[in-house]
Amino acid sequence: MADVYPINIWINEERYEKLKEAGLAGMTKEVLAGLKVIQVPCNAEQRDQLLAMYPGSKCDTATTKTIELLPKDVKDKIFDLIVANKSVDVIAQFLASVKG
């Protein structure tokens, strides 16, 4: 099975309500003292494209294997796609929209 490199999208109350409406609230998990996160999977190729497009971001290879420090507007856009598509598999669409 191919390696997965998730993006952590942190969930506040407003975002949680939107996820509930999209039927995705069950996909959140608690990470730190009740703070919720939803994880958006990326494959290695998508990871490399994101890291190249946003040089401030990084893949935490040592511990979590997650892609971190993407700009806020990027993560906002990914979150909107999750809600619109009622799915977390949105990275291909996100990359296409940015390149397009």
Partner: protein
């Protein structure tokens, strides 16, 4: 009153505060422009932050540090403090041993340097001895390799004391001023918390835990005699670091918002460019805080480390090699604080029995949360700290709490030098 610093030496301020006297001293001297790192080290040397040093090191000191982790006179020391210059610039300016030159920063006079020795030194030897590696991926090694080909050793005298700019002005104290402040507060023991981060509750508990350890057997029934000093390192910034203003102000708000009592907590800054030398930097930090008058220094996991160059607790272990009496400050070695969902609290690795359930404070995760602008639970991040980070982002960071190109290019400098003729 004499204030005794590292190595049992008196802290000496090499500063001319009389403007006319300073102008007379620098008249006709050859100006040598210096970069930010050197300017910050000049200030550190002049006020005694690096006591017993009174200037940039000569060859014998650098050699002894590399071989023995001491100065040439046997005083414990771990990181060379050197002034580098191009051979061509030395020749062009006609600088020779016995001269005095004028160091300038941003076109203004800063300090005089007595040229006692001009020497070369193998940078690889420094890298291996200080950083334990010669790989230029290590930022401290890269800094060493970037030094120019000659070094000039000799005493410095500050001729244009820096004007510390807001918001840092409230937080800059010289070593002697630190000691005077501690005396006013009646602190008999002071424990250092070294930081380059805005504080989450993991940091807060590191400070609280080390305060408890430092306070130890002291009486507590009448008044408290121990203080915690958060000494923020302010130096060269890299993209993605927290902005300096957020680091300092967010630590301070922990006290003003009541998470620390006013009579046991204080925040100051020290200008220093981190070398990421792990255990060797831990020794240096201990020396630095000795000079500030501290009695204890907290060292956590991976202190001043970078990447995988050092073991998690190398900065604890190196103090085993320090001879008795070589340091006048006690290391307080601490393990991790984490959030435990079973204990439902931030707790200590040495106490909590639910290791398999722990939720660690990963710096990367915390930064990720801040970047998303999502307010974390107060058990993780105090709301006052989070709000202040966002305020600092707008006020000082051009919209970001992290260092950006725009911040690097346009930030307000930490200090300025008054115009002075030379």
């Amino acid at each position: 009153m004499a204030y005794i610093g590292h190595g049992g030496k008196e802290i000496v301020e090499r500063v001319i505060t009389d403007r006319a006297q300073a102008e007379a001293k620098i008249k006709g001297l050859t100006p040598v422009p210096v970069r930010g790192q050197i300017a910050r080290e000049v200030i550190g040397l002049a006020y005694g932050f690096f006591c017993p040093l009174e200037g940039f090191m000569k060859r014998a000191d650098v050699e002894s540090i590399c071989k023995n982790m001491t100065l040439a006179d046997g005083t414990l020391w771990s990181i060379p403090i050197v002034f580098d210059m191009d051979d061509s610039e030395i020749n062009e300016k006609g600088i020779k041993e016995g001269d005095t030159v004028l160091l300038t920063y941003r076109d203004q006079p800063l300090a005089t340097l007595e040229v006692e020795e001009i020497f070369t030194f193998d940078k690889k030897e420094i890298a291996q001895a200080v950083y334990g590696t010669t790989e230029d991926k290590h930022p401290g090694v890269a800094r060493t390799y970037a030094y120019k080909d000659k070094f000039i050793g000799g005493k410095i005298t500050l001729v244009n004391p820096p004007k510390i700019n807001p918001p840092f002005d409230k937080f800059f104290l010289t070593p002697i001023q630190h000691r005077q402040k501690f005396a006013e507060k009646g602190w008999e023991r002071i424990v250092a918390h070294q930081t380059r981060n805005v504080p989450h509750t993991g940091h807060e508990w590191l400070i609280k835990g080390s305060w408890l350890q430092a306070n130890g057997e002291l009486r507590v029934d009448d008044r408290l005699r121990t203080g915690a000093l958060v000494n923020c390192i302010i130096g060269e910034k890299r993209k993605g670091d927290y902005i300096d203003e957020a680091i300092v102000l967010c630590h301070d708000v922990l006290r003003t918002a009541g998470y620390f009592r006013d009579d046991i907590h204080m925040v100051t800054i020290t200008m220093w460019d981190m070398r990421y030398a792990g255990p060797k930097e831990a020794i240096f930090h201990a020396i630095l805080r000795t000079n500030l008058g501290l009695t204890h220094h907290m060292f956590g996991r991976d202190h001043a480390g970078v990447g995988t160059y050092y073991g998690t607790y190398d900065a604890h272990l190196i103090f085993e090699k320090v001879p008795e009496g070589a340091l006048r400050i006690k290391p307080i070695r601490v393990l991790d604080w984490w959030y435990c969902p079973v204990c439902n609290e931030v707790t200590y690795m040495a106490l909590c029995g639910h290791k398999d359930k722990k939720q660690s404070f990963s710096g990367t995760l915390i930064r990720s949360i801040i970047m998303d602008g999502v307010k974390p639970p107060r058990l993780i991040f105090r709301p006052e700290v989070f709000d202040l980070i966002m305020e600092c982002a707008e006020k000082y960071g051009f919209g970001s709490p992290f260092v950006t190109d725009q911040y690097l290019a346009n930030r307000n400098p930490v200090f300025s030098l008054e115009p002075m003729s030379y």
